[in-house]
């Protein structure tokens, strides 16, 4: 028996820790899935700027990863998730969500198809009991492999140039596709994916090769000012990109204690993912009922708020009187020069009654909160979607 002494450490170090720790001069760490994760490396603005103007590196290792293999892998994932997995070809990646029986979202994540019967599901929360129970009746194996893959997210307009300088030609790699290249005696998987809404790639390798990858990448990327980033900077970019985070923008259904906190894909603006024509998937009957009886209670929207005070956690009012929603993520966006937010609005205040919305902001001004009531209007997400995000071949900056 192997002694499992991990509990001696409250938070595990990722394979990149020997590199990230010395760079994290202010010791800005947070917890992510039981791992130490940098919230910043001393200068959030510069890190954000690297995402939008140069090349940034984010340690993705703590992201929860499940490997799903077997002859029924496609059928299993089609039953588990709302999107059509059969349409995802090997070498492809798609964003998806999965629901409980009541059609409420358990989590979102990205599904990587490595082979006809070989998938990797990446997500925020842990789901092994659910994923395991869902295998009943399918010839499929589910394994949590979070700690057996080291991953980096390389994001920014210059990242294709960095990879090229590192010796990997990714000019023909389209968004949501991946490629495999030899590196350090093993195989490095490069996917054109990310969480910033910008040009970017994610790099996946065995933990033993993690430091070699880091060193190689930082040497190659030096001319473009490559720099590590923490989750604070990443959060700014992801809000501009309009992406959601489980546990921050919605409560996974399995964790919700209050029965009105759970959300369906309709209520998160994710119903476009659902393939109604495929066979049964978990929650399908409940979602059909919700669609047919127009039972959705909430809408998830992007807001453009007057002024420049970030509205994080604020309540939203109709005509300054009636409370109709709340904000889960907000920032003053440096790139779009707008005051943006992701918000849950009770229906019909996201559509028919979307005029006359007001946000109540408590602005901290020299130790004193000042209450602001400022107008807001609904605006499409993503807030920022540059052409370089999808251009193939990618631009060389």
């Amino acid at each position: 028996m192997i002694a499992r002494l991990h509990f001696n450490k409250h938070l595990l170090e990722t394979p990149f820790y020997p590199r990230t720790a010395p760079l994290n001069k202010h010791s800005e760490w947070g917890a992510w899935s039981g791992h130490l994760s940098a919230t910043g490396f001393g200068d959030t603005e510069m890190e954000y700027t690297a995402i939008r103007n140069g090349a940034s590196v984010y340690d993705l290792c703590p992201m929860v990863k499940y490997r799903i293999t077997g002859p029924d892998a496609v059928a299993y994932l089609d039953r588990l998730t709302v999107r059509n997995v059969a349409k995802l070809t090997p070498g492809g990646v798609h964003y998806t969500v999965w629901c409980d029986d009541a059609g409420k979202v358990l989590d979102d994540g990205t599904l990587f198809r490595h082979g006809p019967q070989d998938f990797l599901l990446c997500c925020q929360e842990r789901h092994l009991p659910w994923l395991t129970d869902a295998t009943l009746g399918f010839e499929v194996a589910v394994e949590e492999i979070t700690e057996t893959i080291a991953a980096l997210s390389l994001q920014g307009p210059c990242t294709a140039s960095v990879l090229s300088a590192a010796g990997w030609d990714v000019s023909s790699l389209r968004p949501f596709r991946m490629t495999k290249v030899p590196f350090d005696g093993t195989t490095l998987t490069i996917s054109r994916t990310g969480f910033t809404g910008d040009l970017g790639y994610e790099l996946w390798i065995g933990p033993a090769h993690a430091l070699a990858l880091w060193d190689h990448l930082f040497t190659a990327g030096a001319p473009w000012g490559i720099r590590p980033i923490g989750s604070d900077a990443l959060n700014m970019a992801r809000i501009e990109a309009g992406f959601l985070i489980a546990g921050m923008d919605f409560i996974p259904a399995e964790q919700a204690l209050r029965e009105d906190r759970v959300r369906s894909p309709f209520e998160l603006g994710l119903d476009w993912l659902i393939d109604w024509n495929k066979d049964h998937f978990n929650g399908r009957r409940a979602l059909i009922r919700e669609r047919e009886s127009r039972a959705s209670q909430w809408s998830l929207v992007g807001l453009d708020i007057a002024g420049n005070v970030s509205a994080e956690g604020s309540l939203i009012y109709h005509a300054k009187q009636k409370e109709v929603g709340y904000i889960t993520a907000a920032l003053w966006s440096p790139t779009t020069k707008r005051n943006l937010a992701i918000a849950h609005l009770k229906r019909p205040y996201a559509a028919a009654k979307s005029d006359n919305l007001w946000v109540e902001i408590y602005a901290l001004r020299e130790l004193q909160y000042v209450k602001l009531m400022v107008p807001a209007r609904i605006t499409p997400r993503p807030f920022f979607t540059p052409a370089r995000r999808r251009a193939t071949p990618p631009g060389r900056f």
Binding site: A75, R79, L80, D100, D101, W130, D133, A134, L136, G137, F138, D279, H280, N282, G283, R284, R285
Partner: protein, 508 residues
């Protein structure tokens, strides 16, 4: 492809009752039964050359009044014995009429206490009896509950008065041993009642909530009879009634799967590959098997399958059949009676304890009948058949064959003590353990009720939350077997209730 309006899976009493109810309402119904004959747990078997007996259930308590009258079982040839007297044999014997009737052989103090307790429990059972004929209410908004009948039930509960209503609430979830020991002192009577309360349950008299299971059984019927020709003649009469109503009965036709198209039931495929089309399927077999095997997890949600697989289904009863070359002698008991060997509350509890650990009790308790005393044609002239339900038997022992042999040995020891000289009369002995019952009758865990009948699996929790009103998440699929409310027994109530819901077109 043969087509009908409804296919009923399983030809036990519930399947036959449901099929008849549907056909009498004008539906074209096909009933498919896996075995060569209908009946399920209501069967007569020749367990030894020349000796026949009820294969599983041997005493009729019920059937459901609606089923009996609509199916005209007597007109279709069902003959019953006179109501049985129950006896606790011995030097100082005790007898009781029916399930819960007059007792003779009691001391004066116990007699008074017993008549008060009997009156109270009978009142409670009769109050709750209408629930057996209702679709279980769901504790949810807009659940479509039968408010009229629920209201009537509520009124009848209130009309008992404050004191009796409080007593009902006090006793509803109590264990039966506490009730008996509060009021009675006679071990024979307390043993008999403790045995009857836990008959067919996976619970001892000191297990929580054992009284409500008893009340439910009393509510099923207050007289006990033996069908002439064994329990198979109940199935035969029900089959005749079903066919008279227009049901097509196909035996020897095990179902391989329930077919679906566009998320709606379209029929069934038999194990031999034959397809039968229907707009609805009502399954009267085990709910877990129906959902997990015949429908399959691909068409169901993960949480739903979790709940189906979590149905507790633990049979605690073994069935003993003895072919006897002559009449045994139980002191002061008549062979036409039901004889109960359960000397005290603790004897019943002690018989249950080992079963919790997968072991066989040293001194099992049992209910014995001699079907040949009512219908001599079941055995060669002058010979007898002993049919007994023996409790408790482990449903999942480490070694099945060893447990069966041990159970038979321990049971025969108890019998020999009660009726000296019985052992030399035995020409053949057969004991069915819960796992044998599962193999032979398809009941998960050998549970007569297709799932423990216990308070946490009753009413809107039977077979589990979300499918208690006989419909399922799949349009056109209905559950109407013993796994559904109000449970098993040779009653047909669950099948009748399910058919009623189907006819009312209740939506999932």
């Amino acid at each position: 492809m043969p087509s009908s309006d409804v296919i009923v899976i399983g030809g036990g009493p519930n399947g036959l009752a449901a099929a008849t109810r549907l056909a009498q309402s004008g539906r074209r119904v096909t009933l498919v039964e896996a075995q060569p004959q209908v009946g399920g747990g209501a069967a007569t078997t020749e367990f030894h050359t020349g000796y026949r007996t009820s294969a599983l259930a041997h005493i009729l308590q019920g059937p459901d009044a609606r089923v009996a009258s609509a199916m005209k079982l007597d007109a279709h040839g069902l003959r019953l014995s006179t109501p049985l007297t129950t006896a606790v044999p011995g030097i100082d014997p005790l007898t009781m009429q029916g399930t819960f009737g007059k007792v003779s052989g009691l001391a004066a103090t116990d007699l008074a206490a017993w008549s008060e307790l009997q009156e109270r429990l009978t009142r409670f059972a009769r109050l709750l009896a209408p629930m057996r004929q209702m679709t279980p209410p769901r504790p949810a908004a807009k659940a479509g509950n039968d408010l009229w009948n629920l209201g009537k039930l509520g009124l009848s509960l209130r009309s008992m008065g404050k004191v009796e209503f409080r007593e009902l609430l006090r006793m509803l979830l109590i264990n039966v041993a506490d009730v008996l020991e509060d009021d009675l002192t006679d071990d024979r009577l307390m043993g008999l009642l403790a045995f009857d309360a836990t008959l067919g349950a996976w619970a001892g008299p000191r297990s929580p909530n054992s009284l409500i299971v008893y009340l439910n059984r009393i509510a099923a019927g207050e007289t006990l009879t033996l069908p002439m020709g064994g329990m198979g003649s109940v199935a035969a009469a029900m089959r005749k009634a079903a066919e008279a109503a227009g049901v097509t009965v196909l035996t020897g036709s095990p179902v391989d799967r329930i077919d679906m198209a566009a998320d709606i039931v379209i029929g069934v495929t038999l194990a031999n590959g034959e397809n039968f089309a229907a707009g609805a399927v009502l399954s009267a077999i085990c709910p877990r098997r129906t959902l997990e095997t015949l429908v399959g997890p691909r068409y169901l949600d993960t949480g739903f399958i979790r709940r189906a697989r979590a149905i507790k289904s633990r049979g605690g009863a073994a069935k003993l059949h003895l072919a006897l070359t002559g009449a045994p002698h139980f002191p002061a008991a008549d062979l036409t009676w039901r004889i109960v060997l359960a000397p005290s509350v603790n004897a019943v509890e002690n018989a249950f304890n080992p079963v919790k650990y997968g072991e066989v009790p040293d001194a099992p308790v049992m209910e014995i009948t001699f079907p040949t005393a009512h219908d001599p044609s079941l055995a060669p002239s002058g010979h007898h058949v002993l049919s007994a339900v023996v409790q408790f038997a482990p449903h999942a022992p480490k070694d099945r064959d060893a447990a069966r042999a041990q159970m038979l040995q321990n049971t025969l020891n108890v019998l020999e003590t009660a009726a000296p000289g019985l052992r030399p009369l035995i020409a053949h002995a057969e004991i069915l353990m819960p796992y044998d019952i599962e193999d032979r009758f398809g009941m998960s865990g050998g549970s007569w009720h297709h799932g423990d009948l216990a308070v946490e699996q009753m009413l809107f929790l039977r077979p589990f939350a979300g499918v208690s009103q006989y419909n399922t998440p799949i349009p056109g699929l209905w559950l109407g077997g013993a796994g559904s409310h109000p449970g098993g027994g040779i009653s047909g109530a669950a099948g009748w209730n399910a058919a009623t819901q189907l006819l009312q077109g209740a939506k999932p």
